[in-house]
Amino acid sequence: MSTARVEHTNAATGLSPHPERATMEGRNKIIGFWLFLGAETVMFACFFGVYLALRNSSLDGPTTQELYHIPMVAVSTLILLFSSLTSVLGVVGMQQHNYKKTMFWFGVTVLLGASFLALEIYEFFVYVGEGHTFTSSAFGSAFYTLLGTHGAHVLFGVCWITGLLFQARKRGLTQEMAPKFFVASLYWHFIDVVWVFIFTVVYLMGKVG
C-alpha cells in the first residue's frame, strides 16, 4: 500500500527494534486489533451485567457461596497471570530478534494456557456433579455463558499461538511474523485481564455474597 517503499527493502535481514511496527500492515494490524479488543470488552461487559443480574437466581441448585472453590480458582488465576508474563518475555525475545527465546516463552504460554483450560474443565465437571448446570437455573446459564465465553477465548488463543509457533518454525522471525506475535500477546493479555475481573466479580464477590 502506501508504504510500498518500505516493502522494497529486504525484510529478512533488516529487522528494526520494533519489527511489529515496521510495516504499514503491521501498524494497521495493531491498531485494528486494539479496536477489536475494545469491541470484545463491551461484549464481556454485557455478559458480566447479565451474570450480576441473574447470579442470585439459583433456584434449587447451589448458591454462589456453596458452589465456588476459591483455592482451585486461585491456582487457575496464578497460572493465567504467569502466562501473561511469559507472553511478555516472548515479545521481548522477538524485539531482541532472539528466535529461541521467542519460541520458548510463547511455548510456555501455550502450555500454561492449556493447563488453565484443563483446570477449568475439571471445575465445570465438579459443578455439574453438584447440580449446577447450564440449564438448571438462570444463574447456571449466566455463569456458564460468561465463563464459557472466556474459556473459548483461551482455547482460541492457545490454538492461535500454537499455529504461530509452527509458522515461525517454517519462516523464522520475519517482519511479517512480528506483528502476528505481538497481536497474539495483546490478545493474551486481554483474556488475562478479563479473567482478573471474573475472579473478582464472580468468585470473590460470590463468596462474600
Binding site: M1, A4, G32, A39, L59
Partner: protein, 638 residues
Amino acid sequence: MATIVVLVVFALFLGAILTGGYNKELNNRLRSHWLWDWITTTDHKKIAVLYLLGGTFFFVIGGIEALLMRTQLLFPNNDFIVGREFNELLSMHGTNMIFFVAMPLLFALMNAVIPLQIGARDVAFPFLNALGFWLFFFGALLMNLSLLFGNSPDSGWTNYVPIASNVYSAGTGIDYYVLGVQISGFGTLMGGLNFIATIINMRTPGMSFLRMPLFTWTSFVSSALILFGFPPLTAGLFLVMFERIFGANFFDVAAGGNPVIWQHLFWIFGHPEVYIVILPAFGIMSEVISTFAKKRLFGYNSMVFATLLIGFLGFMVWAHHMFTVGMGPVANSIFAIATMAIAVPTGIKVFNWLFTMWGGKIRFTTAMLYAVGFIPTFVMGGVTGVMLASPPGDYQYHDSYFVVAHFHYVLIGGTVFGILAGCYYWWPKMFGYKLNEKLGKWSFWIFFIGFHLTFFIQHFLGFFGMPRRVFTYQPEDGVTMINQISTVGAYMQALGVILIVVNVIYSYRHRTPAGSDPWDGRTLEWTIPSPPPVYNFAQLPKVRALDAFWHEKMQGNKQMEPAEPLGPIHMPNNNHLPFLMSLGMFVSGLGFVFRSWEVGALGLAFFFLVMFLRSFEKDHGYHIETDEIQRIEKGANA
C-alpha cells in the same frame, strides 16, 4: 443417515480443497469467469458495488413487505394477511430495512468514497473488508431464506422475549433472525473496524483530522458506534440463541430469568444503531449541500464537534425506548434529560446546513433536491424525537403509530434521502456516468410526496389510539380513511422507487463519460478519473487545506500537488477465502436453525479452518510498475 452424508460431502470437499485434486481445467475456467473476479475481489470500489447490489436487493424485498402490510390495513377487519403472517411481515420488514438495507447501502458509499476522500489507495484491511461484505450477505440471505422455507421471525425487529422464546414462537422463525443478524453483525463489525483503522492510519500527507471531509468524519464516528454498539447485540443474540437452541434460562421467569435483560441489551445496541445509520447521512448532506451551494461548510469545526457529541450521547440514552417498562421516575427523568440534550448538537447541524446555503449559489440537481428535501423532513423527525423524549408524553406515543411515523421520518427522511443524495452525487465517480437528472427529479418528487402522504398522518393515527404492529383496526375506531391515505402514499413511494430503478437502467444505456469532476467538487475524490483506476491515486496528493481540491482550484491549479514521486504501487491480491469463510458461517447458521448440531459444528469448524489457512497463506500482494501506471493514467485522461 443425513449426518453421514453431510460428513462424507464435507470430507470430500475438504480433501478437494487441501489436495488440489480437482479438475484443473474446470478450476481454470472458474477462475477466469467474471463472477470469480467479483467473488474474490478485495478492491474497496468493487466491494462498494457489491454492497450497493446487496442492499438494493433486500430493499426490494423489504419494500414489498411494506406494501403487503399497507394493503392489509386498507380496510378495517381486512383478512388479506392476518395474525402470525402479518407479524412475520412486520418483523422481516423492520429487520431487513435496518440491518440489510440501510447499513449495507451506507457501507457501499463509505467503501466507495472514504479511501478517495482521504487520499488512500485502499482500506487498511482489504481482506477483512471482503469478509465483512460476504458475512453481511450470507447473514441476510440466511434470514430471508425463511421467506422461502416458511416460518419467518414474528416478534418484531426488536425481538422481545418472551414472545421470541420457544414457548410463544415455536418453530424455526426466530432462529433465522438470531443467526442471520448475528452473522451479518459480525460482518458489520469488521466493516466498521476497517473504516476506523483506515481513517486513522491511511490518510495522505497533510490530511489532518480537521481537514477531513465531513462524510469521512461522520462515517468515522458511525464506525466507532458500530464497534461499541454491536457487541451488546452480539451478546444479546447469543443469549436468545442459547435459550432457544440449548435450553438456557436467561429470560424465563419460572427459572429465575428476567425478560427485561434482553430489552436493555437490545437498546444499548439499538439506540447507537439509529445514529449509525443517520450520521453518515448527515455527512452526505454536508458534502452535497456544500458542493451545490458552492460554499465551504459553515462552521466545520462545530459540525465535527456536534458529530462527536451525538455519537457520545447516543450511548447514554438507550432507556428512552423503555420509559413504559417501569424503571421508576428517577431513571426515566435522567434518560429524558440526556435524550433532550441530543437535540442541541442536531440543531447545530441543521442551522449550519442552512447557513452553508446562505449567500451561496444553489444548483438544484437531483442530489441537491434530496438534500434540500431532507432538511424539513428530518427536522420533523427531530422535533417529534424531542416530543418522545418526555416520558409523560411518551406514555401516550409509545408503541403507537406516532412512533412509527417518527422513525420513518428519521430513517427515510434522513437515511434513505441521504443514501439517494449520495448515490446521485457519487454515481459518476463510482461508474463514470451520471444518472439522468430529469428522471431523477421526477422520482424525487413522487417519492417525496408519497413519503409525506404515508407518514405524516400516521402521527395522528397514534394520537387516535392505534397501536403499532397491529394487523387490523375496528370500523368504529374511526381511523379508516387515514389508513387508506397512508396506503396510497406507500404505493406512491413504490412508484418513486421503480422510477429510480428505471433511471439506473436508462442512464446506463445512454451513458456518456462524466469526466473526473462533474459537479465542480471540493474534495479529493474529484481529482482522480471516474471511475478511479484500481490504485486510486497514481501519486498520493498533498493536502494543504480543508476542501483540498477547492483550495487548489482557487489557487489556479488544475490538479493536486503530489506528495511523492511516481513509483511502483503495492496492491492486495484477490482472495476467495472471505467467501469460503462466510459460506462456512452460512452453513453453520442453517445447521443451527434446523437444529442439526453436526452441520452447525461443521460449518463453524470449516470457518476456523479457513481462518487458519489464511494465517498460513503467504499473501504479499502485487506491484503495479511505473510504466503500467503511466499507461493507465494516459488512457484515463484521454
